[in-house]
């Protein structure tokens, strides 16, 4: 039997860790890290226990549930809900959090801000577990926002750091027209803002989705419509009761799903809201490893999977297409990035796109299981990749440009090996976890394409193209760092593997990249469907994936290891494409022009002038006419205009009271006579 306190304890343990570490003096970072890691380890243990109780039976468990707010006929509650997907996710979150904390103790051992890391990190883990364990959409949303907060805090961890600008090397590179280098990135303070606001763009859609579900819930008379069970009840038959924004029935359900997906697009950095994630790499690499690789960005995938019963075919088609586009787009950009974390960031975006491709395929095609499965395997190997990247950056004294690396294999063998297996996993080499999970994704997309036909093939093809590129750029990444000759001795000569406990973290994570850790139990646990068609699709997908891997990987080995000239020639041959990738397909710039400078700063400034004008208020007080048209026509100018008009009337009236007695008497007589006439005539 599952103890009632268990799920709550798992949820609250990171919060306790956050509070505890907040109380630890900032001068004792090691203590704080140890404390947090200890609590996280306990939390992981509990999660494992819970998983063992839930996963084998495939049961869903509703934990304690409390009302949080009674809005009068509408109740919002908090509580836990665990199914196999959630249980495994909780284990992964806990495990990675523990390991990352241990690793970070080394990574930040000489950072004076290190004491802040544990509590911010623990707060983030709490938020993430809130999303994972929530038993209703509202609580998910709360966790969702708090995840955003954690991400905000950790991206801006080094809040005082300027954007990289003053390094001679970067200036030189920039002068040479290089793209995709660190210099393109924002300062941490800017990046955290960008991340939060772009997440909020998605959240606005999320709120509207919640609105649709709430309206439907009220229409169907359910007191607490947002719990998973009640949502399923309300959305029975693929349609929602009631109307909202002029929609009803299945259209309304589609709207709700798209709203939720909109949130996921923001959080999971999908096209067109993906641009914040590469900038988020300004955070500590340890934070990136879990937040911007393994868990937070996966929250969008998780949420869509959690709300899967609601998703209508129309909504799923959108999910698949967005996933496919993102997969290819991000992969293409990753190919030309020189910042080693940026490559990983774009690869994360691309892989998340892959997960959405799977989800878009629909449950019947095995999409849900495939998407979640890839989420899990990706979480571990991507975390490992980031920790390895952290080791490299640390080893290279903070440098992270691929131009200046190379040959580090000899100086840091453990890191190189661990990174190597992780790369093999991400490109989907046989017997590695990625092989298995990516195969499932492609199989689901393929099957969906086969059954639905027509446009439904789109996501599959995009995903294939993305996979092809993934093999290329990830190998390039590894080769550029670890293989070949040392390009910049000044940067590389101090390099060494991390301290033993940090290396141990890498070594602990490495086995999870192996396929047999996951397969075949995970597919069963996630309820992947089995049939002739599925098996057939799996085989086809495996063939396709292997072919793509060979082509992409082969090219990478040739071009980046064997002969650099091939890469240069390819770049020349594909110059327009290469440039487009280097310019991030113009999306960042478009967003910058359209939203940051246009709708944001620009229009806001215009609105501000429209509202108050620009003129000197003291002058207007004395009745002076506004000097500019914009002042007279601003809202405030119009209001002041009323006052000015009154004063003007007063002045013209005062002109009649100008001290001429004769005029006074004459006026009195004339007006009096007029009144007399009027009175007599009327």
């Amino acid at each position: 039997m599952i103890p009632a306190w268990l799920s709550s304890a798992i949820l609250l343990a990171p919060l306790a860790a956050a509070v505890l570490t907040l109380l630890v003096p900032r001068s004792r970072p090691a203590l704080a890290h140890g404390l947090a890691a200890g609590v996280m380890a306990g939390c992981t243990a509990l999660a494992v226990w819970l998983a063992t109780l839930i996963v084998p039976g495939g049961v869903a468990y509703q934990g304690p549930h409390l009302p949080w707010l009674d809005l009068g006929g509408l109740v919002l509650g908090v509580g836990t809900f665990v199914d196999p997907m959630g249980a495994i996710m909780a284990v992964i979150v806990g495990l990675l959090a523990t390991l990352v904390l241990i690793y970070n103790a080394w990574y930040m051992h000489d950072d004076e801000l290190a004491g802040r890391f544990p509590w911010q990190f623990s707060l983030f883990v709490f938020a993430m577990l809130t999303v994972v364990l929530a038993d209703n959409l509202f609580m998910s949303f709360v966790g969702w926002e708090l995840v955003g907060l954690g991400s905000y805090l950790l991206i801006g961890f080094w809040f005082a750091k300027p954007a990289v600008k003053d390094d001679a090397f970067y200036q030189q590179m920039k002068g040479a027209g290089a793209r995709g280098i660190l210099e393109d990135r924002l300062s941490p303070a800017h990046a955290q803002l960008k991340a939060f606001v772009m997440n909020r763009v998605g959240d606005a859609g999320f709120l509207i989705g919640i609105g649709a579900l709430l309206a439907a819930g009220v229409a169907s008379g359910v007191r607490e419509p947002l719990t998973w069970s009640n949502l399923a009840l309300i959305a029975q038959g693929g349609a929602l009761p009631g109307t909202f924004l002029g929609l009803s029935g299945s259209e309304l359900l589609t709207l709700a799903c798209l709203g939720i997906f909109c949130g996921a697009v923001g959080k999971s950095a999908q096209f067109p809201l993906h641009t914040w994630l590469p900038d988020a790499m300004q955070g500590p690499t340890t934070a990136s490893s879990i937040i911007h690789a393994a868990t937070m960005v996966a929250a969008g995938v998780f949420l869509v999977a959690r709300c899967y019963p609601l998703f209508t075919p129309d909504a799923l088609a959108v999910v698949g297409w967005i996933g496919g586009i993102t997969c290819l787009l991000a992969a293409s950009i990753a190919c030309v990035q020189w910042d080693l974390k940026a490559v990983l960031a774009y690869s994360t975006v691309s892989q998340l796109g892959l997960m959405f491709v799977a989800l878009g395929a629909g449950a019947a095609a095995g999409g849900q299981a495939a998407g979640i499965g890839h989420l899990f395997t990706h979480a571990l190997f991507k975390c490992l990749l980031f920790l390895c990247a952290g080791s490299v950056i640390h080893a290279c004294a903070g440098h992270q440009d691929l131009h200046r690396m190379g040959g580090l294999m000899r100086r840091m063998p453990i890191t190189a090996a661990c990174a190597g297996v992780a790369v093999l996993a991400i490109i989907g080499a046989p017997f590695f976890s990625g092989f298995w999970s990516k195969d499932a994704v492609l199989a689901a997309a393929l099957l969906h394409g086969q059954t639905a036909g027509g446009a439904a093939w789109g996501p599959f093809l995009l995903a294939c193209a993305g996979s092809l590129l993934t093999a290329g750029y990830m190998l390039r990444w590894w080769i550029r760092i670890f293989a070949g000759h040392e390009r910049d001795h000044a940067v590389c000569h101090h390099a060494h593997d991390p301290a033993w406990y940090a290396s141990a973290v890498l070594i602990v994570l490495a086995p999870f990249t192996v396929m047999f850790v996951w397969s075949p139990w995970l597919g069963h646990a996630l309820g992947a469907p089995h049939s002739e068609a599925h098996a057939h699709a799996h085989h086809s997908a495996m063939l396709v994936a292997s072919g793509l891997l060979l082509v992409g990987g082969g090219f990478a080995v040739l071009a980046f290891w064997w002969k650099d000239a091939i890469a240069a020639a390819a770049a020349r041959a594909l110059r327009p494409l290469h440039n487009a990738c280097g310019e991030l397909w113009g999306i960042d710039r478009l967003w910058d022009v359209l939203f940051t400078r246009g709708l944001g700063a620009g229009l806001a400034r215009v609105s501000a002038v429209l509202d108050l004008g620009t003129r000197d208020r003291l002058a207007s007080l004395e009745g002076a006419a506004p000097s500019k048209l914009s002042d007279a026509l601003s809202l405030d100018g119009l209001i002041d205009g009323i006052g000015r008009t009154c004063r003007q009337i007063g002045l013209s009236s005062a002109a009649w009271h100008d001290g001429r007695l004769g005029a006074y008497i004459g006026l009195a007589a004339v007006i009096g006579a007029a009144i007399l006439l009027l009175g007599v005539l009327l």
Partner: protein, 539 residues
């Protein structure tokens, strides 16, 4: 012996008089004068949280003018209690933040106390005439506080505030006189709804608001309402006013528009908001705190206490318009805030945006929305007060408020940066902080209200983007990044007085954000009752 609510008005007045005594004790008197209403309000709020109900409690009534029917009648429901507590709290914090006021501190504190007494009068009174009197009395101390202790263009801002808000509320005077005039001298017998008796009769239906209830054999129930200004009595006659004509419209429509105008100016709602940035920018910190923390709430409170109960059919009829005004305010305020460089002006526009949620919530006429609107009023009082205090902190050090003139203050002032971040996140509506509760409830209320409200709610939801943008952009420009000016490195972090002013607000923001149930439970019955009352006007 006078009761607690009367004390909440008398104590500030008395303390205000004591403030004028020579010596340096004025600030202590002022603090005490603020703590009395805080204590009364908290006690009442606690009572409503423990025993939720829509009735008026702590009711006291003293005759004033029998020939007119006006009296000193006070009582609070959940909303009134919350507002009273908020007003005491904000006034106490404003007093602490002005603890070291050197320019004529005695008069300063005395004026603040007069202001507080007037505001409390509005919150506790159940008499329309007294309501109006207190409503207008506020203008005078505010005029002086902005005009004397304010910034460079204080005279312009003060006069503008005075004339603008006075002009906004004069029609309300006409309204209250009309209502009085149209009640026959001998009183009027009106039918009463069952819910009214359920909610407000304390003696099993024998009397209602102190009036004997007459029951007829056909089951109908009525009371005879005397001529006067008791809001509870006026409210019973709303049907009569639908039938009276004035200037081509019904008396109810006229009255509703009159209250609406007065309230919208105070709220302030776009496009009647432009006095606010001037007043805020020119006012000293503590007065900005009072202005944002309490004064703006009066507009919402007037809608809640006057417009909706007295003219329910009009509220139904014009609800969409209020909602539209609210949403315009939400979006326009946020957008303009994004374009501001003066920190105080920025916070002022954020107030315009946030107060829009109060209007949206009230307009939708759902229990969730109305409660959300009032909760938003309370939480905005906490959040915007904190923001103004924080602007004041750096103004005290840098003597300017230009956001571009800061940067990287988190390095010399870490505590400041954290509190600023919390305040900004509360303003951005982050769950777990107070700002989220009201906004979410108002939004959810709109989503479920039907008619045009889902559309309005969807538009309002877009403000989560803008609010995050202007709030966090501000934090970024002030606190983060490399230190913009080397001389800022010498800035000291928050001192004890500044912590004493800000930390209570931070704690409350977090407590209300995490555990809003007591507050919401205290406010909800009154709002539900209001919604039921208004909905009873449906044909």
């Amino acid at each position: 012996m006078i009761g607690a609510l009367t004390w909440s008005v008398v104590a500030p007045l008395a303390c205000g008089a004591l403030c004028l005594l020579p010596g340096r004790a004025a600030r202590w008197f002022a603090l005490f004068g603020a703590l009395v209403p805080l204590a009364v309000g908290l006690a009442a709020l606690g009572d409503f949280a423990r025993h939720p109900g829509a009735d008026f409690r702590l009711v006291e009534s003293y005759p004033w003018a029998a020939s007119v029917g006006a009296g000193w009648t006070v009582g609070v429901d959940g909303i009134g209690a919350a507002m009273l507590a908020l007003s005491g709290l904000v006034a106490a914090i404003a007093t602490i933040s002005a603890w070291n006021e050197t320019r004529n501190p005695r008069v300063y504190h005395a004026l603040v106390m007069l202001l507080l007494a007037a505001m409390n009068g509005v919150f506790v009174t159940l008499d329309l005439l007294v309501f109006y009197v207190c409503w207008e009395v506020m203008l005078v101390p505010m005029l002086a506080l902005i005009g004397v202790w304010g910034g460079e263009q204080r005279r312009y801002a003060a006069l503008k505030f005075f004339v603008y808000t006075l002009a906004g509320s004069v029609l309300m005077l006409a309204m209250l006189i009309m209502l009085w005039n149209r009640t026959p001298a001998g009183g009027r017998t009106v039918a009463v709804q069952a819910i009214e008796i359920q909610a407000h009769s304390h003696d099993g239906g024998a009397t209602l608001h102190g009036l004997p209830v007459e029951r007829f054999s056909d089951g109908s129930v009525s009371v005879t309402v005397p001529r006067g200004f008791d809001l509870r009595h006026l409210q019973l006659q709303w049907r009569t006013w639908e039938g009276e004509r004035v200037l081509g419209m019904s008396l109810a429509a006229f009255g509703f528009l009159a209250v609406l105008l007065a309230a919208l100016v105070k709220v302030p709602a776009v496009p009647l908001h432009t006095w606010l940035p001037h007043a805020h920018v020119q006012a000293p910190t503590a007065i900005s705190v009072l202005l944002a923390g309490i004064l703006l709430k009066l507009g919402v409170y007037a809608l809640y206490r006057l417009a909706w109960p007295l003219f329910p059919a009009q509220a139904l009829h014009w609800g969409w318009l209020i909602g539209v005004i609210g949403v315009i305010g939400i979006l326009w305020g946020a957008w303009v805030a994004l374009g501001q460089r003066d920190l105080k002006r920025l916070v002022a526009y954020s107030s315009v945006s946030h107060m829009g949620f109060c209007l949206l919530g009230l307009a939708g006429l759902t229990a969730a929305g109305a409660t959300g609107g009032m909760v938003q009023a309370v939480t905005h009082g906490l959040g915007s007060s904190l923001l103004f205090l924080l602007v004041g902190v750096i103004y005290d050090r840098a003597h300017h408020r230009n956001v571009d003139g800061f940067g990287g203050l988190a390095t010399p002032m870490p505590r400041y940066a954290w509190i600023l971040l919390i305040a900004a996140l509360a303003g951005a509506g982050l769950p777990g902080l107070a700002g989220f509760v009201g906004e979410a409830m108002a939004l959810f209320g709109s989503f479920t209200a039907g008619g045009p409200f889902p559309w309005l709610g969807a538009l309002a939801a877009l403000s989560v983007i803008l609010s995050a943008a202007y709030m966090l952009w501000t934090v970024k420009r002030v606190a983060y990044g490399p230190l913009a000016h080397p001389e800022h490195a010498a800035y000291t972090d928050l001192d004890a007085r500044e912590l004493a002013a800000t930390v209570p607000l931070v704690v409350l923001i977090i407590v209300v954000g995490v555990w809003p149930a007591p507050l919401v439970d205290a406010l909800r019955p009154a709002c539900e009752n209001l919604v039921a009352h208004v909905r009873s006007a449906l044909p």
